[in-house]
């Protein structure tokens, strides 16, 4: 059983060059239960990535704390796998070696870690590319490898920071289905940050809407669409209704950002 608790977590970036300190995140509470798929939706600059980086341990909260199964997060660790928006595969390692990176760091023998890596390569549909360098892969293939790399570590929770943000629409839709398929089959606790409304509904069991800077949770919406979901669900009345509601929520926030800019 996995429980992630975010308790009164806030983040203020210190003043620089005489500017006032920036409040990126208001004190925020959020509880994510076992095998939950939570998507965080918000306009750019709403602190959603900051929140995710704090959960990952890559950034420290100014106040509050994050606990995973009762243990406070003080730094990054293998129990929280992360997929970044930028392509972060190690360019000097092949696809297989990239996916086995975490296992190797833990001292898993080569034969075993290759077996695990190959299983994940199949799962993300990259069979035949085991020995390719990241440079030889398309953006979508690189992100599939990054997801496999995070999953191969068997983390308690998977954190994704707009992982499909740089991909074209068609590739993005396929990647969403692939990720959802993995979740439906293997059950994982997932926290997924995005600014794409459709993506947030399609993937999530719960959508957390964040307000513009300083970021805080504005609304929480349950997505009661049945699983397994296929791309066809995106045109059902239920989906469209949810989308309309979220468009309104996000629009007011985006307008606030535009006015302040």
């Amino acid at each position: 059983m996995t429980t992630l608790r975010i308790e009164q977590v806030s983040r203020t970036f210190p003043a620089r060059h005489g500017n006032a300190p920036t409040r990126a995140l208001e004190p925020t509470d959020l509880i994510i239960g076992n095998n939950d798929f939570v998507t965080i939706l918000g306009p750019s600059g709403c602190g959603k990535s900051t929140l995710l980086r704090i959960v990952a341990g890559l950034d420290r909260p100014t106040s509050g704390r994050v606990t995973l199964d009762g243990r406070e997060v003080t730094g990054p660790g293998a129990d929280r796998g992360m997929v970044f928006q930028s392509y972060t595969l190690f360019p000097w390692l092949t696809v297989r070696e990239n996916i086995a990176f975490g296992l190797r760091e833990r001292g898993v023998p080569e034969g075993e870690r290759n077996k695990v890596a190959d299983a994940f390569i199949r799962q993300v549909g990259l069979s035949g590319f085991e020995n390719h360098w990241p440079k030889q892969l398309s953006g979508g293939m690189q992100q599939r490898t990054a997801i496999a790399r995070a999953l191969a570590n068997d983390p308690k929770i998977l954190l994704l920071d707009e992982p499909f943000g740089a991909l074209d629409n068609q590739t993005r839709a396929l990647m969403q289905e692939m990720l959802l398929g993995i979740w439906e089959r293997d059950q994982k606790t997932v926290l997924f940050v995005t600014h794409d409304i459709e993506e947030a509904i399609f993937l999530g069991s719960r959508v957390i809407v964040m307000s513009a800077r300083p970021g805080r949770i504005k609304a929480e919406i349950n997505v009661d669409l049945p699983h397994p979901r296929s791309y066809k669900i995106k045109t059902t009345p239920e989906f469209v209704q949810l989308k309309e509601r979220l468009v309104e929520e996000i629009r007011t926030e985006a307008l606030k950002v535009a006015e302040h800019a």
Binding site: G77, G81, R106
Partner: protein
């Protein structure tokens, strides 16, 4: 599409074929020798100051066949490689440490930046005093000339490692040691190899200077001897040999790096 039908000889940043590249490269050597021949055979420059290409080749043959010049070449190569290897063994780990750990950088960087500007050749009299005129002195000149340069450049390279790769490694459970061994080192390795290739080229200039003073062997020693005899043919032959060795070692270094880091070219 850009219309190339009316193209001139070249356009900015336009590429050349590998055949053209070789042809252009050779053309300059031909032009160079032609100018040299014109100046010497044509009598525009006195023989005392500049030997003609043919004399140079004859003197070169004489040097190799009768005066044991191959031994001098061997000595010079050993000094360069020895002093340079010594510098690399110390400089690369230090540079990596400086790049990885900011306190180490803050501690060493000011001194290394200062020492980098000390001319290696100015140390020769001091080094002769300390180490005599033996091999150690020659190695030390190369060492002083290379070590600080390599330290600084390696530190900058390691310090510029992509942060997102480091963060990714941390979220995959890497320890601090793992970050250095499995992210900082492999990501900087090709750059470090390039730095070594570059500085090896500079080491060649130091070795000749070191051999000009207080030496009984080596290419630089031969050049000083030839100067006393006004044998410009031998001097030029010596210089050309250095150039050829440099070209060859550069080529080998490049090929070795390409073999070592295939992921860069993929």
């Amino acid at each position: 599409m850009i219309d190339h039908s009316d193209r001139l000889l070249m356009r900015p940043l336009d590429s050349v074929t590998s055949k053209q590249r070789v042809a252009y490269g050779l053309a300059f050597f031909v032009l160079f020798v032609a100018l040299w021949s014109w100046a010497t055979f044509g009598g525009h420059v006195s023989k005392t100051f500049l030997a003609n290409p043919l004399t140079m080749v004859q003197e070169g043959y004489d040097l190799l066949a009768k005066q044991g010049f191959l031994f001098d070449i061997g000595m010079t190569i050993w000094r360069v490689v020895g002093g340079f290897a010594l510098a690399a063994i110390i400089a690369v780990p230090l540079g990596v440490l400086m790049g990885a750990y900011k306190p180490v950088e803050a501690f060493l960087e000011p001194f290394v930046s200062f020492a980098r500007y000390l001319p290696a050749s100015a140390f020769i009299p001091l080094l002769i005093l300390w180490a005599g005129i033996g091999e150690l002195q020659k190695l030390l000149v190369i060492f002083i000339g290379s070590v600080f340069q390599v330290i600084l450049m390696v530190a900058v390279t390691v310090g510029a490692t992509r942060r997102d790769l480091v963060e990714a490694a941390y979220t995959l459970g890497a320890s601090d040691r793992g970050i250095i061994r499995r992210v900082l080192l492999p990501s900087s390795a090709p750059e470090i190899a390039e730095i070594l290739r570059l500085v090896l080229g500079w080491a060649w200039t130091y070795v000749i200077v070191a051999e000009l003073i207080g030496s009984s062997s080596g290419i630089g020693h031969m050049i000083t001897d030839s100067q006393a005899l006004l044998n410009t043919g031998q001097i030029i032959f010596g210089i050309i040999v250095i150039g050829l060795i440099g070209l060859l070692s550069d080529f080998m270094f490049k090929a070795f790096n390409a073999w070592l880091f295939p992921w860069r070219l993929a």
